[in-house]
Amino acid sequence: MTLIQPSPVAVETAPQHRSRAVLATGFVLLLGLLAAVCFFSITLGSRGVGIPTIWKAFTDYDPSSASQTVIRELRVPRTLIGIFAGAALGISGAILQGVTRNPLADPGIMGINAGAAAFIVFGIMVLGAQDVSTYVWFAFAGAGVATVTVYGIASFGREGATPVKLALAGAAVTAILTSITSAIVMTNVEALNQLRFWQVGSLAGRYFPVFWQTVPFLAIGLVVALGTGRALNGLALGEDLALALGQRVRLTRVVMFVTVAVLCGAATAACGPIVFVGLIVPHIARMICGPDYRWILSYSLLLTPILLLAADIVGRLAVAPGELQVGVVLGVLGAPAFILLVRYRNLAEL
């Protein structure tokens, strides 16, 4: 791991410090907002349900009631996966940006999704994987391999992993993996049929088995991730200063990358490739809380699920009774945000 130079993004507006009390209040408000979004995620949809039905579904479950079944079997796991996967994507975006000191680091742009997709297709073709719960392991492996490859390629050379190099390495690795994926898919119709539904990125059709499979990884990853705030603050001062402050820089980097690979792998396995949230949310968090990574991580932890679930609800309502997958909604809404980010680079220097 070579020395990483500060990214060429200029500081135009330094994020302001806010008092701890203000930030804590904001955190509580976000918790309330998340609860509200969860409530809407359970009630809204092509079949609207009222509060009494929800209450009954948990206290006095009647399997013959379609509404109650929809809540218990579809909407609740969907919402839970949305919360955990969203938190994972947001927090790993924040860590990636901090550890690479690169404002454009994001799981989608870094080729992690393409890695997961390639491994899933391989799993379907060679080992006959049949459903989402078997894909998970392949998605994991693919995400890990892609993360390491992209970062490894981009960090060759004296400048280290600059934003453009990371983005290009990600695009390049995506191109390679996509051509392999398509080679398999073109000759194997079954693989195509399964891949195309996974590939859009959706919370629909993810039931409890998928949740139970991914949640241990997500939960452990999130706990570890939340603990990296102090180390990220040190790294933000530069590698030399972090060393001088007594940090074990190399070790913390490795821990962070492993955490990111686990979180992104599990999130991608659970809902398919979802781009742009991991990129945008940490920037919003940074605008609110200033440069302290402990706050950025906590805010990303709540903001991303809110955004993800909101996008999911929008997708459900926009074309009801059909459904726009959350990956599509976020891809379409996230691209303008990304472009704004590139055009007006008044981001904090990382």
Partner: protein, 346 residues
Amino acid sequence: MTALTEPRTAVRSGRQLRRRRATVVTSSLAGVTFALFVLTMMVGSYYVSAIDVVQSAFRLTDDPAIDFVVRDLRLPTAAAALSVGIALGVAGTVFQKLLGNPLASPDFVGVSSGASLFAVSSIVLFNASSTVISGSALLGALLTALIIYLLAWRDGISGYRFILIGIGVSQFMLSIVGYIIARADLYEAREAMTWLVGTVGQAGSGELRTLLVALVVLLPVAMVLERPLRTLELGDDTAKALGSRVELNRLALIALSIVLIGFATAVAGPIMFVALIAGPIAQRLAGPGGGVLAAGLVGAIIVLGADLVSGHLLPTALPTGVITGIIGAPYLIWLLATVNREGRGG
């Protein structure tokens, strides 16, 4: 006096040497291209000798059996491979030189994904015929390029911003493509997949003719614009100081390469990596004097070679784009590694 003439003659002889090297390499590349072009029409389930191929393709003799195999079956694919390769090679090298980054290939910068999006939606949403599909691929490439250009414009175009915005736009397009493919019939999804990888075998005669005409018109233009391109490579300020009309030349060059990419994508779909690797290979072979023509020929050699491999050497026929993708991968990683070592990647 001698002190002045000596460096002058040294420069002159150096320039002659470079020019000679470029000429020799370019003509041998042309020779190899022609040989491969003929070879792709020789092999197959029915073998035709080289002489017969040449005589039939150039309409020197008339032998119904051979004419059928050569002119009707194999010539369209071979001509598509040839012209798509040249177009991609030329467009790719112009892009790379304009943006000053060997990694700035139109494949990554979103132009191809725009073409894919339009082609895929015309298949799935409108059940379009093949001509309409190709037309919309062309339209998609042009529109996307225009959007990226406009979004990246801020007192001029910087290579860095252009590439990043291109990647963002590309992600946007691909997320919609994913959605469309997921809601399509399986049969249509399969057909749409060919517009995500690209293959020269699917070329329709109308699109092919358009691409050929475009090449005949634009290739000389590209060679004329090569001189301003070299000035632009020196950096905007130097180019301005040398009297070059920077924005005008840049716009002309970008428009030229976008049109070439658009037509090539309309014929064959997005064939990956050709635009990326043709330019640097040509430069390595022909030296700094090697220009857009050499890059075009290298592109043609790659696509013809990939077509030969995919059509005849593999147990199942794969799209040409998959082969170029697999050939391109190791090269690309090597390129990323070495470019970064020289510190020019960002």
